[in-house]
């Protein structure tokens, strides 16, 4: 893939043109990534339909059975990216709290400690997400604990 950058002082808005032989899955994925990088909406799939989901509607993003899902109040939408890609794409908004889950920082109400020493995050939709000790430093850093 060839990437060219043209700088022009008279250019008002950022424009990205993709030149391709055909509309392939690679092109579709590239367009989706570019779109998501510049908007607050994520593309989710449910029942063979495509939905544009606002980032702040998503409570958590989790992987299960090799697939990744956006968990919202209404539904669970499938994402086409990997959890790792989404983690990098959504830095500052979402944080990984265990091997298979990212949590929307704005949706966290409190952290709870269970009697056996397990940690859980309570979200404002009254669901809880398990926090792994391995990912606790990332969560603390995202909340500004212990410096950046």
């Amino acid at each position: 893939m060839k990437i060219e950058l043209h700088l022009n002082e008279s250019q008002d808005d950022l424009e990205i043109h993709i030149h391709a032989k055909a509309y392939t899955p690679e092109v579709a994925q590239l367009m989706q990534r570019l779109q998501q990088a510049t908007s607050d909406k994520m593309v989710g799939y449910l029942d063979k339909k495509i939905f544009m989901i606002e980032k702040d509607e998503i409570y958590s993003i989790f992987s299960q059975g090799g697939k990744v899902y956006y968990f919202t109040t209404e539904d669970e939408y499938e994402a086409k990216q990997t959890l790792y890609e989404l983690e990098n794409m959504l830095v500052g908004d979402f944080v990984r709290v265990n091997k298979s889950t990212l949590v929307n920082l704005e949706k966290i109400v409190e952290m709870q400690m269970k009697y056996v020493g397990m940690m859980e995050l309570a979200l404002d939709n009254e669901t809880t997400v398990h926090v792994s000790r391995k990912y606790l430093p990332k969560l603390k850093q995202s909340l500004g604990i212990g410096g950046k």
Partner: protein, 134 residues
């Protein structure tokens, strides 16, 4: 696989170091009976014990289980290995001595769990404080 090898290697090194230290202390305090054969056997058993402990410690890689359950599984795994090694190397000769090993290990694990519980409690408090500040 990398994690697996890391745990085995660390376990083996801890086993050998402990064995070396204990044998050295015993010899320094004039303990008798440390023939070449006995020392070789003790090194070998300690090495195997270390590897076994390293493998049992892989339980802590599991994110699904709570700390307490991890510690309980680890406790019984290590206890089994220690008792087996002790029996092979004749570290104890009576049931009473074996029970002392069980008791000491129980106290150590209880202290470790207590510390982990305290650290987790502090972490939870600091996260909640940061959440309340937002």
């Amino acid at each position: 696989m990398r994690n697996f090898m890391k745990y085995i290697l660390i376990g083996a090194l801890i086993g050998l170091s402990m064995s070396y230290t204990i044998i050295t202390i015993n010899i320094l305090f004039g303990a008798e009976g440390f023939t070449t054969e006995v020392i070789k056997l003790n090194y070998f058993i300690s090495l195997m014990l270390g590897v076994g402990c390293g493998l049992v410690s892989l339980i802590f890689s599991s994110e699904k289980l709570p700390i307490l359950l991890n510690l309980v599984i680890h406790y019984f795994g290590i206890l089994g290995l220690v008792l087996l090694s002790g029996w092979m190397a004749e570290w104890y000769s009576t049931m009473g001595e074996a029970l002392i090993i069980v008791g000491i290990q129980f106290v150590i694990y209880l202290a470790v769990w207590g510390m982990l519980y305290f650290i987790t409690h502090e972490d939870v408090a600091s996260v909640n404080k940061a959440l309340n500040k937002r």
